[in-house]
């Protein structure tokens, strides 16, 4: 279920990027190299980026410009990475964050 806009009435045809694969909680997904991680996940239908520490509530993209920190995840083993402003690279391992760590 792609959310990509292939052609836009004002912006024209979306330039073709380089497809790369990465993993989300161990599952292989594809995205465009250099796009924010959050956009690749959104395109793949992933809505929940993390669960809060105390009340285990789901959080996802809110501001999409790196301000609110709602979208942080574990990227290549490092927690609290703002996925909306971190570019996707081939082979990245993305994990849902529980509190400030991975699921135990």
């Amino acid at each position: 279920m792609s959310e990509r806009i292939m052609e836009h009435p004002i912006l024209g045809i979306t330039p073709e990027g380089k497809k790369v694969t990465f993993t989300f909680d161990g599952k292989e997904l594809t995205g465009m190299e250099g796009e924010p991680i959050a956009m690749a996940l959104k395109n793949a239908g992933v809505m929940v980026h993390r669960y809060t520490a105390k009340r285990h509530e789901p959080r996802g993209i809110y501001c999409a410009i790196g301000r609110c920190t709602d979208c942080v995840m574990i990227v290549d083993g490092k927690p609290n990475i703002r996925t909306c402003i971190t570019p996707l690279a081939a082979g990245m391992e993305i994990q849902t964050q529980y509190g400030v760590e991975e699921k135990r």
Binding site: E3, R4, I5, E7, H8, P9, I10, L11, T14, E35, P36, M39, K42, N43, M47, V48, H49, E57, P58, R59, G60, I61, Y62, C63, A64, I65, G66, R67, D70, C84, I85, P87
Partner: protein, 520 residues
């Protein structure tokens, strides 16, 4: 520690405009921005801007951003990206996080142009994935080519809510409702009208009761608010949506100024520094420009930035006399601050235009001008042959329609907020330049009688796929409701129209003043 003549924090429209001026005067200027790309929010603005030629009117925001970046480069401005300014201290020193290092810089002048952040409102479920800022929606669809959702509810009828709703439609999303707790629409009537005619219903005096879903948004409940701003029991209604967009205002990001010790004030528009008309704060050598000193538009941020930049150059002795340049920018800025939506009119209920014509109540309460109200405006005329009908009904600072008409059929005059008047002896050649130039998409070309009881309506059309000649569809009225069958006679696209296509449809004669959108 590195030293500069000028440090600018924020590479948006205000910061870049200021840096261009100081660099042009020979000052060593550096701009720090925490983002990976410069331009602030300009690159997600894909609509045509209002104003006059001096304000780059009828140019789309992202193009203005490209021009600004090119000029900054030509002027020798150094822009450092992925650089978060963390502290502003007395003696005009700053600390900047670049990568994993904290660096230290000092300058004779520091200009803070950090802009603003989106505000939120809280309701049960507001933190759930699927509730996003309207700016986030713009970032996703206009920068990263990703649809924010399939079915979306927008909260907020200010210009951001209206413009982003329209852009969501352009991206191929469905906007199921535009909701605002206020009893009247906050943004420009023309922005509301172009969303309305596409069939998006407005719910004024309504607010969100709750977002539904467990892990992400699957629906929303709205309800009508009473005079006490509380939801009236029994008025709740549900919509199936996957996304809720919040466009409920912006807050200046003025933390650095407070930290440095600048005198601050709490205003209706947020916590802002005290400053003069040239951007000088209470602290010597610390200046501000753009939204951080009070929320306005990108056009005013650019002018304010230019004024602050020239002021810095004058105050530091790099420019002997900047008064002429400043006067030019001040005049342009003054023009932008005129009209029904001028800063001094915020929160006031205006019932008449400057010309003494009653403002459309339906426009304020429902998002479109009613058929019974439209005839009273000076741009709405009837004559033989093809001619423009200008549904511009509020005094806003904008005049491209007057500039682009090769036959001078349209007059606004020297007062930029005046409603456009169509000359009754109009020599209209049907070129459509006015239709494409109108940033509010409020101009239509009408031919009232082409024989056989039919007439034509030419509308601005910015959606895909483009209908084809000969295609039969439904004409929608200003309220987005079907009014009659319509046949596409022509679709015109041209570089001069800048992605606004001109769709001419044939409708029955008695529908030419009602049909305002084409639905395939």
């Amino acid at each position: 520690m590195e030293r500069y003549d000028v440090i600018v924090v924020g590479a948006g429209p205000a910061g870049l405009s200021a840096a261009i001026e100081t660099a042009k005067c020979g000052m060593r200027t550096v701009v720090f921005d925490e983002n990976a790309k410069p331009g602030g929010q300009l690159f997600k603005q894909i609509h045509k801007f209002f104003g006059s030629k001096e304000n780059k009117a009828r140019i789309r925001g992202y193009r203005i951003g490209e021009e600004l970046l090119a000029e900054a480069e030509r002027s020798g401005v150094k822009v450092v990206l992925n650089a978060t300014v963390m502290g502003l201290y007395a003696q005009k020193e700053i600390t900047v996080r670049i990568g994993d290092a904290i660096k230290h810089y000092k300058a004779d002048n520091v200009l803070i142009a950090t802009g603003a952040a989106e505000s939120v409102v809280r309701f049960p479920g507001w933190t759930m994935p699927g509730v996003i800022g309207a700016g986030a929606a713009q970032t996703m669809m206009n920068l990263h080519h990703i649809r924010p959702g399939k079915r979306i509810l927008m909260l907020g009828s200010g210009n951001v809510g209206l413009v982003v709703s329209y852009q969501l439609l352009q991206a191929g999303c469905e906007v199921v409702a535009l909701v605002d707790a206020a009893p009247r629409i906050g943004g420009y009537g023309v922005h509301a009208a172009k969303v309305s005619r596409c069939g998006v219903p407005f719910y004024l005096s309504h607010t969100i009761v709750q977002a539904e879903g467990t892990d992400h948004v699957t629906g929303v409940v709205i309800g009508e608010v009473g005079p006490d701003w509380k939801v009236i029991k029994g008025t709740e209604q549900h919509f199936d949506v996957d996304t809720i967009c919040l466009a409920v205002g912006l807050s200046p990001m003025s933390q650095l100024l407070k930290q440095a010790g600048c005198a601050m004030k709490d205003t209706k528009g947020g916590y802002v520094p005290e400053c003069d008309a040239y951007g000088r704060t209470s602290m010597d050598g610390i200046y501000v420009a753009g939204d951080v000193s009070g929320i306005e538009e990108a056009s005013s941020a650019m002018l304010g930035g230019s004024i602050a930049g020239i002021t810095i150059a004058c105050d530091s002795g790099y420019l002997a006399d900047g008064s002429e340049q400043i006067a030019k920018y001040e005049k342009a800025l003054g023009n932008l601050r005129k009209g029904m939506f001028a800063p001094e009119n915020r929160g006031k209920k205006i019932t008449q235009t400057e010309e003494g014509i009653a403002i459309s109540e339906t426009l304020l309460e429902c998002g479109y001008v009613a058929d019974s109200e439209i005839e009273r405006y000076p741009g709405v005329t009837h004559m033989e042959g093809v001619h423009p009908v200008i549904e511009c009904t509020q005094n806003i600072p904008c005049n491209p329609c007057q500039d682009v008409c090769p036959k001078k059929c349209i007059t606004i005059g020297n007062n930029i907020t005046a409603l456009p008047v169509v000359d009754s002896k109009s020599q209209c050649i049907g070129c459509g330049m006015c239709v494409a130039a109108c940033s509010g998409q409020a101009i239509f070309l009408i031919q009232e009688d082409i024989g056989d009881g039919m007439g034509t309506v030419t509308i601005p059309y910015e959606f895909l796929p483009l209908p084809e000649k000969g295609q039969i569809g439904i004409a929608l009225g200003r309220d987005g409701q079907p009014v009659c069958k319509a046949e596409v006679l022509d679709i015109k696209s041209s570089n001069a129209f800048d992605h606004t296509n001109l769709l001419t449809m044939k409708v029955p004669r008695d529908m030419v003043m009602r049909a305002r959108f084409f639905k395939s």
